[in-house]
């Protein structure tokens, strides 16, 4: 979805030389400014579709959360605030480095561009790594709905396994509610999964940009692609900014 937009825009740089225009100007645009504007605007429109895409998930989340609040609290308490906060920090910093990368491209500083792209890439990988650790934990605890036998035992009243039960400082749930934690985890995986998918796409694009940036592709005044990719990256960051309080911080006091 998202990569396609970006790739097609990126490919624009490869267009054949055309008279007195810079090589990266596509033939059907009158000016470079028009080209920049058009692709930038297109990126924004694309981000709006992404907003609506996640919008469906957020709507489902809000309704389920209101219905099964207790289950959502318990499910949420299964997540590690530490990892979650760390990941938020990582992503915010990566947003900063990405903004700096765009700045470097604008200032035509190749070295700085490579540095910041590299940093962004590393932070992106770090985010995915931490996410992986968290998911793995859910896997081990049998909290992945659908894949293998989902275990609501831990939330149950009475808990079948006293050892597991000790971990939970909250009151245990009734059987009906305990089962609804599955709903929470389903949405958790759907939302973080969809977000991670966007991250993966972003990281792949970063590699592509990095390689092209080494040839000086974006430091010649034509930084549209980096700029647009930046928008994408910040958007993914914003989604996480909302996922963090919604998924991790339900009734922690």
């Amino acid at each position: 979805m998202s990569d396609s937009t970006a790739i097609a825009q990126g490919a624009s740089a490869g267009a054949a030389p055309h008279g007195e225009h810079p090589s990266y100007q596509r033939h059907h645009f009158e000016t470079v400014g028009q080209q920049f504007d058009a692709t930038n605007f297109a990126m924004w429109i694309f981000l709006l579709t992404e907003v609506m895409f996640f919008g469906g998930l957020f709507t489902s989340y809000l309704i389920m959360r209101n219905w099964y609040y207790r289950a959502f609290v318990e499910g949420s308490h299964q997540l590690s605030i530490l990892w979650g906060t760390a990941n938020t920090t990582v992503l915010i910093i990566s947003s900063f480095t990405m903004a700096m990368a765009v700045w470097s491209a604008q200032m035509r500083r190749k070295g700085a561009l490579l540095l910041f792209l590299g940093l962004t890439f590393l932070l992106g990988i770090a985010f995915l790594g931490i996410k992986g650790i968290e998911w793995h934990e859910k896997w081990v605890k049998h909290h992945v709905p659908g894949i293998h036998q989902y275990s609501e035992q831990a939330f149950l009243n009475p808990a079948s396994d006293p050892e597991v039960f000790k971990e939970y400082h909250d009151k245990p749930l009734s059987p009906g509610m305990a089962q609804k934690t599955e709903e929470y985890f389903f949405l958790y995986f759907a939302m973080t999964g969809m977000h991670a998918l966007h991250m993966v796409i972003g990281v792949c694009l970063l590699v592509y940009i990095f390689i092209r940036a080494r040839t000086g592709a974006y430091t010649n005044g034509h930084f549209t692609f980096v700029e647009n990719f930046g928008l994408y990256w910040h958007f993914v960051d914003i989604i996480w900014i909302f996922l963090y309080p919604l998924l991790y911080l339900i009734s922690r006091y």
Binding site: Q34, A42, T49, S60, G146, L187
Partner: protein, 554 residues
């Protein structure tokens, strides 16, 4: 630097198809499959959606055959369910949604705003490929056994109770959805950023306005459908549920999300058609569209309000009554802009100088049929009567009137209208007029009886029905046959005209749009040089002055 837009006189007697045009520029399959030219992509789209239309039409034929008798004797109930599901899915997502925008719109949008191409040609090509991939997935689904959810994928039926190929059907719609998102995105960017000098918003042809409105709906509505279908697929694969109450989910949530797209989608399906009608009516009555601004803004109003009426598909499904009230009210409001358009078109004829070529016949047919379809929509939008009429053939008749009588008619009007521009050749006039008449008669015979059936209470999606409904069903089936012939004719004579049609010349209709002021078929770059817009849209006096000037200079 030309100060005025290029006008060359049509000289049909001696005209030749220009050697250099977008069709002949390059040859070979690859030059088509890798093209960035919006006109070639439009052509690819035209071929593919026609293909899907006939598949959908064949399924409709089978539906009607089965309904000839009250018993389910032609096909089993399961098969029947698959028939209408595949019919609805194919017709909506693989024919009607891309019909006008992705073919005619793709072809015209850059020319109408005076640009060389859409803003993002590669994205445009990508969107066609996505369409094809989605289409192939749908065909695959059909070949391995089809799907019987209805086109609405109603949960929890679709997620837990059927063992047909729901996931692949949902994913095929998902992919096709992204194709339509990309088309919409491209249009919006093009309209904002690619207009030629002098092309202010209020000089844009109304076709551009209505496609702009439709694009907004595509871009903001379709993603919600995408995520909804993803959730359906996940729920099906992993047996968990946000939508199935047995697992703690809520089936109404699905309804909300689905209709949040699918109501705007019906406007995606009609707005571009409105655009075609504006162009056609204006050209054949040689008059500026009456109340240009009102028509332009009513499109945008439909797009904006259209987002907030979705729950009128759920009046009896257990939404809160207060909510029903609000959605019903908004439905009434969104119906008004359509009324404005209809009357403005009617008044465009006033003091015009009207001729009745085929596109105009289709356009007039459109106005009658869409008015009926739209007004019966109001029957359904009123909460009280919806209780009786919903989920009956009244709804089926309503949406075929707006979709087939409305959009399909305007699609055909558009195809005939721009055929000379597209191919450089005229379609045969007499037989096409006959086809227009045939479709009109066939259409009414097919779908009017369904209003009565619906009022009598015949439920939709029924493979068998009580015998007292047979008479009207027989009419309907008979009408479908006539209708089928009406649709087969154009494909025959249009193909014929590719080789034998009269040479059209640049502007056979003496129309004012920029697309007519260049050669037919156009150059790959559309215009020899970027035009400068120095007059209002639909300025027939300007056109006359220009034509006179050219005659003088010859």
């Amino acid at each position: 630097m030309s100060a005025a837009t290029i006008v060359t006189l049509p000289d049909q007697a001696t005209a030749r198809i220009p050697k250099m045009n977008f069709l002949t520029k390059e040859n070979g399959l690859l030059s088509w499959l890798l093209t960035g030219d919006h006109k070639r992509i439009a052509t690819l789209y035209l071929i593919s959606i026609t293909f899907f239309f006939f598949i959908g039409g064949a399924l409709a034929g089978l539906i009607r055959l089965e309904l000839l008798t009250p018993q389910n004797d032609l096909v089993a109930a399961d098969t029947y369910n698959k028939l209408f599901s595949m019919h609805g899915l194919i017709m909506v997502f693989f024919f009607l949604v891309p019909s006008v925008p992705a073919t005619i719109g793709n072809f015209l949008m850059p020319m109408m705003v005076g640009a060389k191409d859409l803003a993002l040609p590669k994205i445009n090509l990508l969107s066609w490929y996505l369409y094809v991939i989605g289409g192939l997935m749908m065909l695959w689904t059909m070949c391995v056994g089809g799907v019987d959810t209805g086109w609405t994928f109603t949960t929890p039926l679709s997620t837990h109770y059927l063992n047909t190929h729901v996931v692949s059907a949902a994913m095929s719609v998902f992919v096709a959805g992204f194709s339509s998102i990309l088309t919409g995105l491209n249009f919006i960017v093009t309209i904002h950023k690619m207009r030629c000098p002098g092309m202010t918003w209020f000089r844009l042809p109304l076709f551009v306005w209505s496609n702009y409105a439709a694009s907004i709906l595509m871009v903001l509505g379709t993603p919600v459908l995408a995520i909804t279908l993803t959730l359906v697929a996940l729920e099906r694969i992993f047996h968990i549920g946000v939508f199935d109450p047995a697992f703690g989910g809520d089936p109404l949530l699905f309804q909300h999300l689905f209709w949040f797209y699918s109501h705007p989608a019906v406007y995606i399906m009609i707005l571009p058609g409105f655009g075609v009608i504006s162009e056609v009516i204006s050209t054949f009555s040689r008059k500026r569209v009456f109340g240009y601004t009102a028509v332009a803004f009513s499109s945008v109003a439909i797009a904006v309000f259209g987002f907030f009426v979705w729950a009128h598909h759920m009046f009896i499904m257990g939404i809160s009554n207060y909510s029903a009230l609000v959605f019903s009210l908004l439905t009434m409001l969104v119906a008004v802009p359509s009324a404005i358009k209809i009357y403005n078109w009617a008044f465009t004829l006033y003091k015009g100088s009207i001729t009745f070529e085929t596109p105009m016949l289709y356009a007039i047919g459109f106005m009658g049929l869409f008015t009926i379809g739209g007004l019966t929509g109001v029957f359904l939008g009123a909460t009280g009567t919806d209780i009786h009429l919903t989920e009956t053939y009244f709804v089926v008749a309503h949406f075929h009137f707006v979709m087939v009588g409305g959009m399909l008619m305007s699609f055909l009007a558009g195809i005939h209208f721009w055929w000379p521009k597209w191919t450089g050749r005229m379609y045969p006039e007499k037989i096409s007029q006959l086809a227009a008449l045939t479709t009109f008669i066939g259409f009414n015979l097919t779908f009017f009886p369904q209003f009565i059936l619906g009022t009598l209470g015949m439920p939709r999606r029924y493979a068998a029905y009580p015998p007292e409904f047979q008479v009207l069903n027989v009419f309907s089936t008979a009408g479908a046959t006539v209708l089928g012939i009406g649709y087969l004719l154009p494909i025959l004579y249009l193909t014929w005209s590719l080789k034998y049609g009269a040479i059209a010349g640049d502007n056979p209709w003496h129309a004012t749009g920029l697309e007519w002021q260049t050669q037919s078929p156009p150059l790959t770059e559309n215009f020899p040089e970027i035009p400068i817009m120095d007059h209002e849209a639909y300025d027939y006096e300007w056109l006359e002055r220009m034509e006179r000037k050219e005659v003088a200079s010859v």
